[in-house]
Symmetry: C3
């Protein structure tokens, strides 16, 4: 499980750096800006989680994360200057990054003797903060706050699924894969069907 978490975390860093670099590229940022947005997207969520848990940030503890994030962003700069990608494609690595980070974040939080409630919220934090930073740095409305996107909702349901399956005795590895599938499926359904959760009041003050 430890090893799986490690590789999932590294994969999450890569796909998140990719989404950050793609977004920064669309905004015509230069290469330094693009690398910075890539780093913020890839490392932001885990850094907030680590600071809340009073851990050394994961990318200072294991700098391979830093190298993966920077080289993905730099590669993206070189490759994507040639090919033009449809913008919606960007939602696929974004959903994968959300799923991976949420599961990894929840698992790491559990190791620090937090309750299931706190662990699930720290998992959601790990999952969403990078994307919020990316959207703010690229001057877009964060996906997190767009109605019908089910962004935090998908992450939270995934984190709770992970915790429930483990409590029922399912192996952590299987639980992790199921939870990631739940998050990606919910995000996919939300993007395709624009699902809505109940709101406070249709006509606000």
């Amino acid at each position: 499980m430890e090893e799986l978490l490690y590789w999932l975390g590294l994969a999450a860093v890569g796909v998140s750096a990719l989404t950050g670099a793609l977004d920064a590229g669309r905004k015509q940022m230069d290469i330094v800006g693009l690398i910075m947005v890539g780093l913020a997207t890839a490392l932001g969520g885990g850094t907030v989680r680590d600071i809340l848990l009073d851990r050394r940030p994961f990318w200072l503890a294991d700098e391979l994360n830093l190298v993966v994030a920077m080289s993905t962003a730099a590669l993206c700069f070189v490759v994507a200057r040639r090919w033009r990608l449809p913008p919606r494609l960007f939602l696929i690595p974004d959903a994968i990054g959300l799923a991976l980070f949420t599961v990894v974040g929840t698992q790491i939080a559990l190791q620090y003797s937090t309750s299931w409630l706190a662990a699930s919220l720290l998992g959601v934090t790990t999952g969403v903060v990078g994307g919020v930073l990316r959207d703010v740095l690229c001057n877009e409305v964060p996906l997190l706050f767009m109605r019908g996107e089910l962004y935090a909702t998908a992450a939270w349901i995934g984190a709770l699924t992970l915790l429930a399956l483990q409590a029922l005795g399912v192996s952590p590895v299987l639980a992790a894969w199921v939870a990631m599938g739940v998050i990606i499926a919910l995000r996919g359904l939300a993007v395709i069907y624009k699902i809505r959760v109940p709101i406070f009041r249709e006509k606000g003050g």
Copy 2:
């Protein structure tokens, strides 16, 4: 005093979650968004203080805070869907939250061998950060930065009052109540009379 601080902190979490949920509700956020804004408002200021003091965030150390914040926000969702509240009513729990958090934050900072100056600034931080997060997440200009609101000013004068009274030998419990009264009174006067403090230059460059 310890016990008073504990209950004041919990009360501050509750009223702040209420203001966050009310604000998110007015912006027609769904229930997940509403709970997230409630959590950020209720826990943001104390979390920043705890990270600066290198303490475990208070809501991870005592998860009752988390439960209070979430259930207040959820209750607010259920109740306020029925009744319509005048928006200005929202300023009352906001002022109470500011007063409680500032006093609790200043006292906690003092326990970590900070000077009176740093303690008062950490108190102000505890008081204002939650409200700033709420206003930013709800896409409003933070009350903190609106002229004539005396937001940070009220908190700072309250924190300094607390420290001065304690230095003069007044019991910490009495000093805390007086300081909270000062903050609420100043905010009330500012809202009613739009008091202004001296500004840099009437006609800016």
Copy 3:
């Protein structure tokens, strides 16, 4: 070297508080707002660095920093109400603050057994965060994200210069002065000639 770092850090706090106060003054903030923006500009970058390195924030460890930041901002309020300064003058203390903070931040990160890559990034963080906070609080587009400003680029090249010179055996003190010179020179050239670094794609999606 230790002593040089200390004084450079204190100087960086002073000039950054100055830029924050000038900017807040131009936006007609009152004295409390002006001091808050000055504090955020002067202390923001180093605080983020210290939290990432799990150090006590430098202004809680040595409160002289707090006193310098607050008194500079307060002095600026008194002095600048009388004299009117051309807005572009503001770019000079800003460049000095960027250079000083980047060099100090990189050196401090090195003491915490980070790699050269992480140290340079923490140096850039120390250099740029204060200015970003200032610009956000004053509701301006951060200089960091304006094309042709070479803001983060200048800081990063400076940090890498510092590390390269030290690796080549140059004395840390000399390397620090050269690196600061590089940063200030690059910022000066960028402001005068609006230099651009390669961008992702001239015509974005």
